[in-house]
Symmetry: C2
C-alpha cells in the first residue's frame, strides 16, 4: 500500500514549522523551541499502538501504555482534535484503479505560491512540497492511465503561468511505504 503523504490538517500546518496548535489558553509560554514538546511519551506510545492497528480498542491500548480506558480515549480524542494524528484507511493505488503515478520536479519563475495553489486544486495531485535544490516544487501525481497522466502533465501543469519547466519521473515500482513516525 501506499499512498499520499500524510499529514495533518491544513489549518495549522501552514508554516513555520508546525507544531500544531493547541487551544488557546493551554500552552503556557512560547512554542518556538520545542516542536516535540506537544506530545509526551505516553501519547507517543498510544500513537504507536494505533499505527499498528487503527481500530485497536481503548482498553487494550490502555493496558499497553499503562492508562485507564477513559484516559486513553481522552488523549486519542485530543490528538485527533489537535491534528497531531488521524486514523484512516490507506490503500494501494494500484489495486484501486490508479495504474500510473509520477513525481514531477517543477521550476517556476517568480512567486511559487500561485503555482502551488493551482496544483493544489488538481485532484490528481496527491502531494506538493516546496523544496530547496534544483527543483522549486516536487509533486506526486496519481492517474488512471497513461493518457490521463499525459493530459495532466502536458495540458494542465506545463501550461500554468509561471511554470518554466518540468521534469517527470514515472513510477516503475513502489518499493517501500511507511507511516510510522513516533514509532522509532
Amino acid at each position: 500500500m501506499h499512498s499520499g503523504r500524510v499529514v495533518s490538517r491544513s489549518a495549522d500546518s501552514s508554516n513555520g514549522h508546525g507544531t500544531s496548535r493547541v487551544p488557546a489558553s493551554a500552552a503556557g509560554s512560547d512554542p518556538s523551541r520545542r516542536t516535540s514538546g506537544t506530545v509526551d511519551a505516553v501519547s507517543l506510545a498510544i500513537i504507536e499502538q494505533l499505527q499498528e492497528d487503527g481500530r485497536r480498542p481503548y482498553a487494550a491500548i490502555g493496558k499497553a501504555v499503562g492508562l485507564s480506558e477513559a484516559a486513553v480515549r481522552q488523549r486519542v480524542q485530543k490528538l485527533l482534535d489537535q491534528g497531531v494524528m488521524q486514523i484512516v484507511a490507506v490503500t494501494d493505488p494500484l489495486t484501486v484503479g490508479f495504474r500510473r503515478q509520477a513525481m514531477l520536479g517543477i521550476n517556476v519563475d517568480g512567486d511559487l505560491e500561485p503555482v502551488a495553489d493551482a496544483l493544489d486544486a488538481m485532484k490528481e495531485v496527491e502531494y506538493i512540497v516546496i523544496t530547496a535544490g534544483s527543483f522549486d516544487l516536487m509533486v506526486e501525481i496519481v492517474c488512471e492511465d497513461d493518457d490521463h497522466l499525459l493530459e495532466v502533465i502536458n495540458k494542465r501543469v506545463r501550461t500554468l503561468p509561471g511554470v518554466r519547466s518540468t521534469e517527470s519521473f514515472v513510477y516503475l515500482k513502489l518499493k517501500k511505504q511507511t507511516y510510522m513516525w513516533g514509532t522509532r
Copy 2:
C-alpha cells in the same frame, strides 16, 4: 503534516477499533500480490467511508453504502486480509519531533535492487520508488535535525555500493497532502 505516502485523511473524526499486530510485514507492503481488479464499486464506497474515519462503525458504513452491517463487516475484513487497505494512524512528522525531511534522487550503477534493499532497511527512509527518468530511485527521508539528515545522506546513502550520485531536495514546506483514492 505529511509524510509517507498513504493515504487518507479527512477532516476530523475518529473512532476506533483495532486489532493489533506487530512486526514488519503488515498487510500492505510486501508481496507482489496483485489483487488487481478485485475491488468493486461498493467496496470502493466502503473504503471511502473509512478514509474519512477509520473507526466508523460498520452499521453506519452500511447505511451509507447500502449494505447490511454484516456484509460490511465481511468486506472490510476481506479488504484488510487481502492487503487492499489498512486502517492506521498517520501523524504529522513535525509535531512528533522530525523537523528535517528531504527527497533524494539517486543514480545507481547496475542492478537497482541491492541499493533499494539497503535503503529499505534504513528507518529514516520513509518512501522508495524506482523511477524512469533522470533518477533511478527517489526516496523520501525523515530526520530529527540537520545533523541527522546529513549523516544519513552523506554517511549512509552515498556510501552504498552501486550508488553513483545523489541529489537532495530539502523540504521547505509541505503544501498538500492527500490520500483519497477511490474517492474521486
